[in-house]
Amino acid sequence: MAEVDKDKLYQFLLRMGDNTLILGHRVSEWCGHSPVLEEDIALANTALDLIGQTQMWLGYAGEVQGEGKSADDLAFLRDAWDFRNVLLVELPNGDFGRTMMRQFLYDAWSSIMLGHLQKSTDERIAAIAAKASKEAAYHVERSSGTVVGLGDGTEESHNRMQAALDYLWPYVGEMFASDEIDLAMAAAGIAPDPANLRDEYDALVGRVLDEATLAIPAGNYVHKGGRDGRMHTEHLGHLLCEMQWLQRAYPGCEW
């Protein structure tokens, strides 16, 4: 492996692990509230996979950081401004349609990204990606099927899915906005430059949205600020307030 700045590698791992952590928590909020039992179980299982992936990413992040922190420490004892997830995953669930649209837009990126990461020069990252990509492939199969089913469904479900896409689309661009951390990872062969994944993503997403009879909204505006920590939405603080409550109220409490 080429020499790489430890802090940049740490930031990259936080980005991966915070995406799965925050989305995993959001999806888990559906537990017991889904429209039908099968969907409830499916969402809870998806959340579980994402939290499992978080343990691998943040576990490695803690080792790279070298301050003796565990995945749990990083998940429960950082504040909003230290999180490096994209804004897309912290957005509130909305209705079931919006949750599934968000899941699809994320799964498509994740399945492509993990495919590339399996070739990482960092063996640990390649191993995590090989493990996680099997789960991501299963997730995108389900979320794309649901987007097609609801998009090309009744008038009501179609309208809701189009509204979800209109709302979420401006958050998609952040997944492909590269900065100096991404360039350092790409130069070391650790991770692809996210900007180079966009064509693959547009092809996959375009195919599914076509089949779903949904139209990508016009306009190029992109909401950013999550993966570099510059500015999260107000929603992240509320999410952390709930997710971190136990460790904040009873520091060091163990299961």
């Binding site: 099968e38 969907e39 179980i41 499916a42 299982n45 998806t46 959340a47 579980l48 996979d49 994402l50 939290i51 499992g52 992936q53 343990q55 691998m56 063996e123 390649a126 191993a127 995590i128 090989a130 493990k131 996680a132 099997k134 789960e135 299963y138 199969e141 389900r142």
Partner: protein, 154 residues
């Protein structure tokens, strides 16, 4: 302990430890025990997770430890091995047969069950890609109308 038990002996002991969620198959059948080896006087067992978030993973580790300590193994180290990732190909033939007898259709390369574990019928439909544990999906047989679980193929 006077003499170190052989690796084959230890594998046999582990083949008696049931999977915590599907107790009709053993941990050896499930294929999560990647390697058993002595390093000096320490027994090293390499364990691979099925699904990364599977809550059974920690129970599996605890069960391995308990089973081997009961057999007198004092120095034991469990190592997590991620690569190559676990797939359903690691399930043993014995395990696949036990699953079907128990009412869970074993994984198939085609991605869906080949017959109903209750009546053997082949007219099947998928109810949900996910089931009661991360490793299973829900299906139904149109011949006997019974629902059943299918061990997902990954």
């Amino acid at each position: 302990m006077t003499e170190k038990p052989s690796v084959d002996q230890i594998r046999e002991w582990l083949d008696a430890v049931p999977d915590p969620e599907i107790p009709v198959i053993s941990l050896m059948d499930l294929g999560v025990i990647r390697d058993v080896a002595w390093e000096g006087d320490t027994l090293v067992v390499q364990v691979t997770p099925t699904y990364s978030g599977c809550p059974a993973t920690s129970v599996i580790n605890m069960d391995i430890e308990t089973a081997l300590r009961d057999r007198g193994i004092e120095k034991l180290e469990l190592r997590q091995q991620l690569s190559p990732p676990w797939t359903t190909d690691w399930l043993s033939e014995k395990g696949r047969a036990a699953l079907e007898k128990y009412g869970i259709a074993p994984p198939q390369p085609a991605g869906g069950p080949d017959r109903c574990p209750h009546c053997g019928g082949a007219d099947l439909e998928k109810l949900s890609q996910f089931g009661s544990t991360p490793c299973k999906a829900q299906w139904r047989c149109r011949d006997c109308l019974e629902p059943f679980e299918y061990f997902k193929c990954i």
